[in-house]
Amino acid sequence: MAKGERKAGAVPPAPADGAVDRIPGGDAPAGGFVQLLTPDGEHLGSVTTADGTTYSVDFTVEEYQGLYRDLVTVRRLDAEATALQRQGELGIWASLLGQEAAQVGSGRALRPQDMAFPTYREHGVLYCRGIDPIMPFGLFRGVDQGGWDANEHKFNGYTIVIGSQTLHATGYAMGVTMDGKTGSPDGEAVIAYFGDGATSQGEVNESFVWSGVFNAPIVFFCQNNQYAISEPLERQTRIPLYRRAAGYGFPGVRIDGNDVLASYAVTRQALDNARNGQGPTLIEAYTYRMGAHTSSDDPTRYRIASEVESWKAKDPIARVKAFLTKQKMADADFFAEVDESARKLALDLRERVLAMPDPQPVTMFDHVYPNGSPEIEAQRTAFAEYHASFEGSGH
């Protein structure tokens, strides 16, 4: 093969302008991103983007400590879940390792009245919504399909088919407008979570079209963790994902997804814009999935160790710890106490997961139709009678 000749199936060269600027392990993608807290723990105070928008956060010491506690806690819970899966207690687990800042920052930016539509990896957002962290374990342990009350918690069920939930979020946001709940600082906003792979889905593009056309009060929060299972970002796009928003007529912002302060500040601003009637925003949180796609995946087959190592240097938790330490906002006792309380929470979670009973088999006939179905009732009865016929025979 001559020099410069592309192999069949190779990723085409990106255009010079607007190339997909994924730089594995680099400090920042070309074109930059909104960052308020550097990997070294330096607080930049505020950042003004090219369009003149200024993002900043100014938290109290307790609030900074609270963010740190959230990050450590969701990482610890995630680690416990990974361990449970390895021990055969969960059928599968989708780890959020590496994406804590994106999830905690955006999750804490939500107000109580805002509604979130997650994928199956948003355990950190779920935690920030105040939902019992055991809730997703029914799904991953195989005792139910989820089953929390989306409206009560303002957090929809996990959605597994990639991108489907962005349309649900858009429709919900249209309903917010129809209910007259936009146009004021106390209005409602909606956030839809998805990954870089989802941006290739037609339904995600349709949700962008709809949201633009109907000026829906929605924030699209894309966690670009660089891989869709094994496929790198170059297999999804030729331009940086945040720039796609321009084609749909609303702003796109790229943030350092490992920076909890940037995640919080930009999401809060976008949500406020939405609730004030200014329509959608696409946020691309530029981050990295440190673990496998799910526990069934082997990332060593498609990415190199040095890339993972370089991202470790940008760890979302270490930089907050460095900041708190430098600013003398926290001492060793605080960090030890946070670790200990996260450990206790994880152990409590472990006990409760192990105690989750298998459902009674006959309950699989429940909740197929709100109004019931004579066919399903007949099958339920036949099923129950069949099983009852084995009683006493040890079946």
């Binding site: 989306a150 429709g171 309903g175 917010v176 339904e203 349709e206 949700s207 197929v368 004579p374």
Partner: protein
């Protein structure tokens, strides 16, 4: 006061009444607003109820159904129009993977009370993708209620019942019957109407049972009339509900007549007729004088319009099947 109106107009009246009775009902789809839909089923509704109640959407079926799911979670009752049968497939993922399963997935905590209206079937001389009968795909999916109306009176009440139901309903409209007229009592309370989940005897008879739904009910009734001239008294059952099927009524009829012929436009392979034949055989075996026969579309893609009359089950094919049943 009963009026003689077309099936299309009856649907229009039914939608209007649903919009009047419940402020949470919204209609959404391509061209449903100013144009009133390509079949004019939503004619005049946007003018009277506004652009927020009758929403002209971007041209994308997954988007129509997917955003309707979100609106339903929010507390609305969306009525989606899919413009033609063959265009429902871009929305197929949303319907079977999301609409059908939201209630189950959430252990009954999230309801998506929505209606997906699909004009379906052939006989209007249309081009590809405009004449299909995809009902079996949806009837095969637990969590969806699938219904089809066959006459103006049913169209008027069934669409209102579908909208009022908390079950997600796929509502198949027999497009070649849109222009057929029948008596409709527009003042009758829906609460007292025949239930949405029940089949109906469209013509009582004693010698054989014809099972039909949607556009084929007219063909079955015509066949029963023609057979009557030969001294055969055929019963015609209009299924109305395709999932779940109202089996008790069907079993009662077939046990009485001893013969059953199922007719539908969709291809026979894996179709509703196959399911009906199997269930009747299981439940009525000792009452049957002949195998349950099927008259269906052929197992080919819907053909070009100039040959569709050969594809579609008609009076002669149905009578031929009746003859075979009696000849057993």
């Amino acid at each position: 006061m009963a009026e003689k109106i077309t099936l299309g107009k009856a649907l229009n009246h039914g939608l209007r009444r649903a919009l009047e009775n419940d402020p949470k009902v919204v209609i959404m789809g391509e061209d449903v607003g100013k144009l009133g839909g390509v079949f004019r089923i939503t004619d005049g509704l946007q003018k009277d109820f506004g652009e927020d109640r009758v929403i002209d959407t971007p041209l994308a079926e997954a988007g129509i159904v997917g955003t309707a799911v979100g609106l339903a979670i929010r507390g609305y009752r969306p009525v989606c129009e899919i413009q033609f049968d063959g265009f429902v497939f871009p929305a197929y993922n949303q319907i079977v993977a999301q609409v059908a399963k939201m209630f189950y997935r959430s252990k009954g905590k999230v309801r998506v009370p929505m209606v997906i209206r699909i004009p379906y079937g052939g006989g209007i001389g249309a081009v590809e993708h405009h004449s299909e009968s995809p009902e079996a795909y949806f009837a095969h999916t637990p969590g969806l209620k699938v219904v089809s109306c066959s006459n103006p009176s049913d169209a008027y009440t069934m669409i209102q019942q579908a909208i009022a139901s908390d079950d997600p309903v796929v509502f198949f409209e027999p497009k070649r019957r849109y222009w057929e007229k029948g008596e409709v009592d527009l003042d009758a309370p829906v609460s007292g109407a025949y239930p949405l989940h029940a089949a109906r005897v469209a013509r009582p008879g004693t010698d054989a049972t014809l099972l039909a739904y949607g556009p084929m009910v007219r063909v079955a009734l015509d066949a029963a009339s023609a057979a009557g001239e030969d001294g055969r008294n055929l019963e015609v059952i209009d299924l109305r509900t395709l999932s779940p099927v109202d089996y008790p009524m069907i079993f009662e009829s077939v046990r009485r007549t001893g013969r059953a012929v199922v007719v539908h436009e969709a291809p026979g392979n894996g179709g509703l007729g196959a399911e009906l034949a199997a269930r009747i055989t299981e439940e009525c075996f000792y009452s049957l004088e002949a195998p349950v026969l099927r008259v269906t579309g052929y197992d080919i893609p819907y053909p070009a319009a100039r040959v569709e009359e050969e594809y579609l089950p008609d009076l002669d094919r149905l009578l031929d099947a009746v003859d075979r049943s009696f000849g057993w």
